[in-house]
């Protein structure tokens, strides 16, 4: 009996060990019988999952089948999971990765070193950015989709409180003064209606609601690409606007306790007149928090009507190729799959479904969205024509010091420090940090690398 128990224990241990070995897996992704390679792609684009899955399925059944390629498209929202997989050499064939870091760690392969890579990269000439798509002259990913930024406004509230044109249509604000004025007119606490939503708990609030949209006022964020100077004073008009709104109390109450999603939910309920937003918010107000009000999109306002520069457009690039996959799998087919994922077919499909705006507006400029386009999609897409990716700037590491987000939330909004003093201090500190970084890396980078002549051209 005792021996029997020992034998059972030993057998169970062996079974567990064997199953653990099996978990390690030795799946190359190649199906010999159908001569098909399966390539796995991870993205965190949950907003476009349904559309991409449909496109991938169609490809797998059609063109992919002919070429012996099958794409396994997966959503992986956890950045930590992706990082762990990359560093454990367990990453999929395609993933989104910080180019500089993972090219130096030899985890991703340059497209220059892939079959047909150099010719493929040529179509992106002028659009590839060092640090975003490239590292040390080699290309690791290409532009794919962009995010535009503007303002969403509640047309019902605008009409209710008389902010309309001669045709009775809601008129969005064009200047910061108008934003403040309209917010005041739209605020009626007795009806639980408020002029503007300020989700101050959102850690990206300053980035999206001040820096990106504020770029329309001076043409750059905090680094002047024509002079190479660090300058936060250009944000003074928009920051003054927020302080004026605070003084008027025309914001949704308790903004310090509101994160971006609850803020969006309140706008969708029809309680809020205005909110700064990105093109990703179309999906939010269509699927996540279906808007109960009639809403529209307006370009970001500026200090003076008629004086506008390009607003910031986020354009980060999409996927990189796992170097290990390039070394162990069919390189030609791997590149083919990469090309298809970044193809105009995919970009057009995502655009038509109201999910992503292509990096190159010309790809879809003449595509008819039809009557079923989600509300606000066409307007956000049209903002591409008044947007640019942000200008490159030298790195500024503010170890132990406050960045703009912290300065605004902790010093400016709380009125501990005046707007002028806070922005001047930031200009000095960030400027010094950039100078220091350039001095420490003078063998690789010069200020001249970041200068772009005649870059500050008004868009209207």
């Amino acid at each position: 009996m005792k021996n029997g128990k020992r034998i059972i224990c030993a057998a169970l241990s062996l079974a567990m060990a064997a199953s653990l070995c099996a978990c390690g897996g030795n799946d190359t992704g190649y199906n010999k019988s159908s001569d098909t390679w399966t390539f796995t792609a991870w993205t965190n684009d949950s907003h476009s999952k349904a559309t991409m899955e449909a496109l991938v399925s169609k490809y797998n059944e059609g063109e992919g089948k002919e070429k012996g390629i099958k794409i396994d498209y997966q959503i992986q929202s956890s950045g930590e999971a992706v990082t762990m997989a990359i560093e454990a050499d367990n990453a999929p064939d395609f993933f989104s990765a910080a180019v500089k870091k993972y090219s130096e760690m030899d985890k991703i392969i340059a497209l220059d070193d892939m079959p047909g890579g150099p010719e493929y990269i040529k179509q992106y000439e002028g659009k590839l950015v060092e640090g975003t798509h490239m590292n040390e002259g080699k290309t690791y990913r290409v532009p794919f989709y962009v995010t535009t930024f503007g303002m969403v406004y509640n047309k019902d509230m605008f009409k209710k409180y008389g902010i309309v044109d001669e045709n009775g249509e809601a008129t969005p604000p064009k200047t910061y003064d108008q934003v403040r004025d309209y917010a005041k007119k739209l605020t009626h606490p007795e009806n639980q209606e408020y002029g503007i939503m300020l989700p101050l708990k959102n850690k990206w609030f300053v980035d999206s609601d001040i820096e990106f949209v504020g770029m329309a006022n001076q043409g750059y964020m905090n680094f002047n690409p024509e002079t190479g100077a660090t300058d936060y004073m250009g944000y003074k008009p928009i920051v003054d606007m927020y302080m004026g709104i605070k003084a008027d109390k025309s914001y949704y109450p308790d903004p310090e306790g509101i994160d971006n999603d609850p803020g969006r939910a309140q706008f969708a309920e029809g309680n809020v007149g205005m909110k700064f937003a990105g093109s990703y918010d179309v999906g939010v107000y269509t699927d996540q928090f279906p808007a109960k009000c009639d809403w529209a999109v307006a370009p970001a306002p500026t200090a003076k009507e008629g004086v506008r520069y390009a607003t910031r457009m986020a354009s980060d690039g999409y996927l990189s190729i796992n170097k290990k996959s390039a070394e162990t799998k069919d390189k030609e087919r791997l590149m083919e799959a990469f090309k298809w994922i970044h193809s105009e077919e995919v970009l057009t499909g995502l655009y038509k479904d109201g999910k992503s705006i292509p990096y190159d507006w010309n790809i879809v400029k003449d595509v008819d969205l039809g009557e079923n386009a989600p509300t606000g999609w066409k307007e956000f897409c049209e903002l591409v024509e008044v947007s640019v990716p942000s200008w490159r700037s030298p790195t500024a590491t503010l170890t132990g010091q406050k960045n703009f987000n912290q300065v605004f939330i902790e010093d400016i909004w709380t009125e501990k420090v005046s707007v002028d003093d806070a922005l001047a201090d930031l200009t000095t500190r960030v400027g010094e940090a950039r100078t220091k970084w350039l001095e420490e890396n003078s063998d690789k980078y010069k200020l001249e690398d970041y200068i772009v002549e005649n870059s500050l051209v008004p868009v209207n």
Binding site: G79, P253, D254, G257, A396, T397, T399, G400, K402, D411
Partner: protein
């Protein structure tokens, strides 16, 4: 080696005692290996990074000596404000949580109906994730949330309170939510401690005319004091290490006034929370100093409580 020692060793090896010991070591080995791999190694890795400028990019990594520590002590006044907020939070929370848990434990230690049900109910908040609790209380204490509605209905307020707009009210929300979340485990600890107090002591006290309150202070408290010291120490450590909960509730707001050590650390150490591709080495330096501060706090408490016991 003497003959007796040799004989003793011979008796041990191959004996049932040895088999017993080996079985015991085999059983605890996963825990020990896990400790070395998942706790000790990451600690050593993080401590090492404290002397580096590190963003994750190999070419940007460089040894900076004591620079990170110097920055902490000379530049980053937010760290010290966060440390102050952490102790303020502990001072506000623990005098409410510990007595509350003790009183409930006393009540639940008696022979009352549905004791098991109440024990489960009080422990239930403890099993909910801190992040979920943070979201729940954010919603409850929002401007048009249920708390303001109830206070208005009861006539305590005429206008809704913006709970997250002032430090005092935001801290009050944090304390209430935190006490709700963690008092249950302390109730269980106290009940466990009280179960070891002999009933005969209470019977004798009753015969001598001591009432319930006198019995509580003269018998219950002294008897459970050794365990109570540990419970309070665990509560202090847990409170000082609170981070993700406050991140979800106030994110350190308003204006950084409820930023505590752990939220400040998260924002300087953990990718995803760090902004602007920050210096993880600096976060590691903060983690080192924070560990020393928390360890010192525990040692001071143990020393003081030992002296008071003596």
């Amino acid at each position: 080696m003497t003959t007796a020692t040799k004989s003793k060793k011979k008796k041990y090896f191959g004996s049932s005692q040895q088999k017993h010991d080996l079985t015991a070591y085999a059983m605890i080995s996963p825990q020990i290996i896990g400790f070395f791999v998942f706790t000790l190694y990451p600690i050593i890795w993080a401590v090492r990074l404290a002397w580096f400028y590190y963003t994750g990019v190999p070419s940007e990594t460089k040894f900076v000596g004591w620079e990170n520590f110097i920055t902490m002590f000379t530049v980053d006044d937010r760290y010290w404000k966060a440390l102050g907020n952490t102790f303020l939070f502990a001072v506000c929370k623990l005098p409410i949580e510990i007595p509350l848990a003790l009183i409930l434990a006393v009540v639940l230690s008696r022979k009352i109906k549905f004791k098991g049900f109440f024990r489960s109910i009080y422990f239930l908040p403890n099993i909910i994730s801190a992040a979920i609790v943070g979201i729940m209380f954010t919603s409850m204490f929002s401007h048009f949330g249920i708390i303001n509605s109830m206070l208005k209905a009861a006539g305590f307020i005429t206008e809704n309170i913006s709970w997250f707009s002032e430090k005092a009210t935001a801290m009050a929300v944090i304390v209430v939510a935190s006490v709700w979340h963690t008092f249950g485990i302390n109730v269980l600890y106290f009940m466990s401690a009280m179960s070891n107090v002999s009933e005969e002591l209470y019977e004798s006290a009753s015969l001598d005319g001591a009432g319930p309150i006198r019995q509580f202070f003269s018998i219950t408290i002294p008897q459970i004091m050794p365990v109570m010291r540990i419970i309070i120490m665990l509560a202090i450590n847990g409170t000082l290490a609170t981070g993700d909960f406050i991140l979800m509730l106030t994110n350190g707001g308003p204006g950084g006034s409820t930023e505590v050590i752990m939220t400040h650390l998260l924002k300087n150490l953990v990718p995803g929370f760090i902004m602007d591709g920050g210096n993880i080495g600096y976060g590691s330096a903060m983690a080192v100093i924070t560990s020393l501060v928390l360890a010192t706090t525990s040692l001071i408490y143990l020393k003081l409580s030992k002296n008071s016991e003596a």
